[in-house]
């Protein structure tokens, strides 16, 4: 049976004090409390600030003995790529992963590309080069532009053993289709909420303000069942972080997976 890990995208939100963490909790205590709830976390501070090895070593210490990590690539590698300097940024990022790799607690590096990252020759060449540079690490890519969802991309990711992220988003034109294609031994799922009214033109807090119903998550259990038949390890992260809804949904999904005998 595949190992299925469920967690959230990020753990350090002050607005989670109250709904998730006890009142009065200090930020430095967040991770230890989080590790008591979930087996894995997706770090997303690394998108805004280039991570360093000491920083990640410190997180390992704070998190206890077993929490595993996925980590989102820095924006200079996915959103604001400088053709002249991206290799330096890649090198810095990869070196920062050493503590997580040595502790065998790195699940995946997530390369999330924006809607503006079109399926064009230059972008394809860049992606190819980036995947080569990161080939020593377990990788997942997430495309927000639907043009990337084609058979050549699926085959290329399979050849490279890179996971294609399954995303849950509002059903809006231009956004990626519902699609589960297992392209590596590790499968990566991100649930962003289905808030179609606030998806475009609002801030992240409003965009990810959504609470999945149990019915919606039961449907995800059925999808995970299929994914788990192909992949040895399935990572599921909730990004609907507003007011701690991601935590509520992650716990709900864990309960459903257990009820459906997909997790011990």
């Amino acid at each position: 049976m595949a190992t299925i890990l469920v967690g959230t995208s990020g753990y350090s939100y002050t607005e989670w004090i109250g709904p998730v963490y006890p009142l009065g909790t200090k930020p430095e205590a967040f991770l230890a409390l989080y590790a008591g709830m979930f087996a894995s976390v997706e770090l997303n501070f690394s998108y805004y600030r280039m991570p360093t090895a000491p920083q990640l070593s410190h997180l390992l210490e704070q998190s206890g003995p077993s929490l595993s990590f996925s980590i989102k690539a820095h924006e200079s590698l996915t959103h604001t790529v400088d053709p002249a300097n991206w290799r330096t940024a890649a090198d810095t990022f990869i070196k920062a992963m050493v503590p997580l790799c040595e502790a065998k607690r790195l699940e995946a590096v997530l390369l999330q590309f924006p809607y503006s990252f079109h399926y064009e020759v230059d972008r394809r060449k860049y992606l190819d080069a980036l995947l080569k540079d990161f080939s020593s690490l377990p990788l997942a890519v997430e495309f927000r532009n639907a043009q990337w969802y084609n058979n050549r991309v699926f085959d290329s990711l399979r050849e490279r053993g890179v996971a294609l992220t399954s995303v849950d988003l509002p059903a809006l034109n231009g956004l990626p289709p519902v699609l589960d294609v297992t392209t590596s031994k590790m499968a990566y799922i991100r649930l962003h909420g289905r808030n179609s009214d606030t998806w475009w033109g609002s801030d992240a807090a409003a965009r990810y303000d959504y609470l999945y119903s149990e019915k919606e998550l039961q449907a995800w259990v059925e999808r995970v069942r299929g994914i788990a038949s192909e992949a040895g390890r399935v990572l599921v992260y909730f990004n609907n972080h507003r007011r701690g809804q991601a935590v509520q949904n992650a716990k709900m999904l864990l309960g459903l997976l257990k009820r459906n005998a997909l997790t011990p």
Partner: protein
């Protein structure tokens, strides 16, 4: 008013191999192929996932497959188990879908329109059906939900060998655009060569052609192909499925005839006409029936099942001639002749699967003849026997 995509295509890749694994799970981790033993030049009919990873493909000569993979296991086809698995898949689908089209060989189309109050969103329902098939049949189909059959078929081809996907209403053309043109139904070897020469690698390139460009490149048939590239398809999910579908042609002679040559000419014409319709639907016939109506009102009938699916006119005409000879038991004038093609199955595009002895030449010839008939009419090109006495 917006419509929800409701057509589901279930596609089991290399069905015969998947069924073999369902029967014997120990096969799952070893490369093997399914091929007919005793054939003069056996070809691979289906490959396991492991064999596929080693570079083996359906249609490949077995000898070549054995050279590529040492100690390759070769299994005989097991049509009984395949039929049972296909029937069980259909039974599961019918619990959820009011319309099920069973095209056999692990291909089923469902129309879930009107079921969402009972079974929830169509995508969730499609996934549930997939999971029940996995649990009860032991095989995993690729699942695609789309607004029509054509798009759903391209999607399963794009994401194979496993997975689920949904293309929303209004996004058919944009989803198809970046896919390989070879995934489009109707693109066989001959069409693929033209697309390659024209530099059209993706479906979007074909979709962007205007009418005159399309006709210049492909003839009139190209317009249908271009429209398919745009994701247009009005064909309904046919609940009868291929098991009940037939292709039927009849010719009534102006005067009752007794001349064998005239009869043969008419026979060739109806076979060519029916064969063209069959190939346009990407089908092959498993059986053929001839019905004769004598001038005195008596009927004569004969039929024959074929061991191999009948695809090309040359095979259809030869079979029809044999069946006619059986049906023609009386020396009485004939008033009419009817032909029925049945036992239809999806035509495999891999030529070796059908006629290993130099199939390319015949397929190219057939393709050229079909294109000419579609452009200039069915009588434009025909056998000499059909012209002389017509």
């Amino acid at each position: 008013m917006s419509h929800q995509a409701s057509v589901v295509h279930l596609n089991v890749i290399d069905f015969a191999a998947a069924v073999a694994i369902a029967k014997d799970r120990s096969l799952a981790k070893s490369p093997f192929v399914v091929a007919k033993a005793g054939a003069a030049r056996p070809v691979v009919l289906a490959v396991s996932r492991q064999a596929w990873a080693e570079g083996l493909t359906p249609g490949m000569p077995v000898g070549m497959a054995e050279r590529l993979v040492r100690n390759l296991r070769i299994l005989d086809p097991d049509p009984t188990s395949c039929i049972m698995a296909n029937t069980l898949m259909e039974t599961i689908c019918r619990r959820y879908a009011p319309l099920v089209q069973n095209d056999s060989g692990g291909h089923l189309y469902l129309d879930l329109a009107g079921t969402s109050r009972l079974f929830g969103p169509h995508m969730d329902c499609a996934v549930r059906i997939r999971n029940e098939i996995m649990e009860q049949v032991g095989i995993e189909p690729v699942v695609a939900l789309a607004p029509n059959k054509l798009v759903s078929k391209v999607v399963t081809r794009a994401i194979r060998p496993t997975g689920v996907a949904c293309v929303r209403e209004g996004e058919e053309a944009s989803f198809l655009a970046p896919q390989d043109a070879l995934l489009l139904p109707g693109v066989g070897p001959a069409m693929a060569r033209i697309l390659s020469v024209a530099g059209l690698r993706e479906i979007g390139g074909l979709a962007a052609l205007d009418d005159s460009e399309t006709v210049a490149l492909f003839g009139k048939r190209g317009l249908a192909l271009r429209d398919a590239a745009r994701g247009l398809d009005n064909s309904p999910v046919d609940p009868g499925g291929l098991a009940e579908r037939t292709i039927w042609r009849r010719v009534d002679f102006p005067e009752p005839i007794l001349d064998a040559a005239v009869f043969h000419a008419a026979l060739v014409r109806v076979v060519e006409d029916a064969g063209l319709e069959m190939r346009r639907s990407l089908l092959a016939a498993g059986a053929l029936r001839i019905t004769l109506l004598y001038a005195d009102g008596v009927r004569g009938e004969a039929q024959q099942r074929s061991r191999e699916p009948l695809l090309l006119d040359s095979d259809l005409i030869a079979t029809a001639a044999r069946v006619s000879a059986k049906a023609l038991e009386r020396r009485v004038r004939l008033r009419a002749l009817a032909l029925v093609l049945y036992g239809l199955t999806p035509a495999k595009r891999e030529p070796d699967l059908f006629t290993p002895e130099g199939p390319d030449r015949f397929e190219r010839l057939q393709s050229a003849v079909d294109s000419t008939r579609l452009r200039f009419g069915t009588t434009a090109v025909t056998k000499a026997t059909a012209i002389v006495h017509a």
